[in-house]
């Protein structure tokens, strides 16, 4: 009714306003043009534009829902493996303890990340923690190097720490993860990188919504001997007899290498689980957002549609009443 009043007002000023809008509406009643003008300068978005947006948002919602399903099934597969491998690093920590604050000259940070994106913030968290550890271990005569597993950490770390990167390994998950592959990887790292302490940074999988950034420390045999002699946490190590004809040094060397490969295996599996879990929750919130957006667009579409119908009706009725009287 208010619109009818406005319309009458508009008609009084008819000579001032160009007749174009009225004829435009009359000539194309079914397919409204891109820019519709209602009574005195009120513009509506064309329904065509809104319809296009709704179609693309619906497609995005379908894609993200599918990605969530895929991530859920991949998570189920890796989760059993990761849980089974959890017993692997515990004996080493029971024997050698855990010394993240050990003071060493050369530490190497092994950052584990994913190759693919759209997995939430886990890769950024790993990179931030790695940079934090780098900062923690910086000082005179100390140096920290990076070994990077995964494309995402590579992209982030190559920007400002390019000179500190020793080794970059990508495409880890092309084949399903297994111990042989990880032990070959560990062998490569041990051969090419000198270290006193290796710090492996990864996201430990607690549940589908919770991933805890964790750092596991593996010490080189010389540092283990040094810490054992100086007492403290590793002081009990000397009480352990060493079987076999090899010297204690050789056994410790084998032990350190075995520990590294075991800890890496568990870390890589946990990170893979965390990646799939993070992707599930990211895609879930994304499809929910798309759903919300779709609701809002539907409301806008209906409003636009009803407004244009109302406009037409008013046109027709006012035209008819003008003809009558």
């Amino acid at each position: 009714m208010a619109m009818a009043a406005l319309r009458r007002e508009g008609r009084r000023f008819a000579p001032l306003i160009s007749p174009r809008p009225i004829t435009a509406v009359r000539s194309s009643p079914i397919a409204p043009s891109h820019e519709d003008e209602g009574p005195i300068g009120v513009r509506y978005i064309s329904t065509q534009v809104v319809r296009n947006r709704m179609k693309s948002v619906k497609n995005i919602q379908k894609i993200t829902k599918a990605m969530k399903m895929v991530a859920a099934s991949k998570l189920r597969a890796v989760q059993t493996k990761a849980e089974n491998s959890r017993g692997l690093w515990q004996p080493f920590t029971a024997l050698l303890g855990d010394l993240p604050s050990v003071d060493v000259k050369k530490s190497v940070v092994v950052t584990i990340s994913s190759d693919k994106g759209l997995c939430g913030g886990i890769n950024s968290t790993s990179v931030k923690i790695s940079k934090g550890i780098h900062k923690l271990n910086s000082g005179p005569e100390k140096e920290t190097k990076y070994v990077i597993l995964g494309e995402k950490a590579k992209a982030q770390l190559i920007r400002d720490s390019k000179k500190d990167i020793e080794l970059i390994i990508t495409e880890l998950q092309k084949n399903p993860l297994n111990y042989t592959q990880v032990s070959v990887l560990a062998d490569e790292i041990l051969k090419n990188v000198e270290f006193d302490a290796l710090r492996i940074v990864f996201n430990k999988f607690h549940s589908v919504v919770s991933f805890v950034p964790t750092v596991s420390t593996v010490l080189s045999p010389e540092i283990v001997e040094r810490e054992a002699e100086s007492g403290g946490k590793l002081g009990d190590l000397d009480n352990y007899e060493v079987e076999g004809g090899e010297t204690k040094g050789e056994i410790l060397q084998n032990l350190a290498e075995f520990q590294f490969s075991c800890v890496m295996f568990n870390a890589v599996l946990e990170n893979a689980c965390s990646e799939q879990g993070a992707r599930m929750s990211a895609m879930d919130s994304s499809s929910r957002n798309a759903g919300d957006m779709l609701d809002r667009l539907t409301l806008t579409y209906n409003r636009t549609r009803q407004a244009s119908i109302t406009t037409e009706l008013i046109e027709i009725i006012s035209g008819a009443s003008a003809l009558e009287g």
Partner: protein, 201 residues
Amino acid sequence: MLRQASRLLARAPILAARARPFSTDLPAAQSADATFTEAWAKVIPNMDPPKTPLSFMQPRPPTPSSIPSKLTVNFVLPYSSELATKEVDMVIVPATTGQMGVLPGHVATIAELKPGVLSVHEGTEVTKYFVSSGFVFIHANSFADIIAVEAVPLDQLDANLVQKGLADFTSKLSSGTTDLEKAEAQIGIDVHSALNSALTG
């Protein structure tokens, strides 16, 4: 915004309800390394420090004054934990120096394993596995940790394939040229002859 609030509210009870999410991963009572947390807080005050493996492990019991009656064994492989804190009478492990029997109260030892048969004795039953190699840690509190790369129960071994493998690797040793090939062939021979004696002996 309401959704974020509900998610945050839901997360706290979820974590509390799932304080024991997996039986293999109970959070221990002891906290992480205090020096590390302090050093972290000084250098990077805005971020929480990362967790360390110590906070994910059950602490081991201290050495008892008298010898306990049972040995607690953890036998782990990369793909599964075969035995987790199982109380047994004795285990015989194939150390590099030969078969080593471990009883409760054994002196603390670190030993490397060679390919051979591992047998677990519990009362009257004996379970035998063929292990490829690994390590065994015997702690003073009668805990034994056996970490192996591969272990199969003996009844899953095929005698024909063992013979064939032994023949293959022997021929590879004689035809090998580089040291690496010879070393690999030698390892193959060692494993297969151990398999052979495990099946026959």
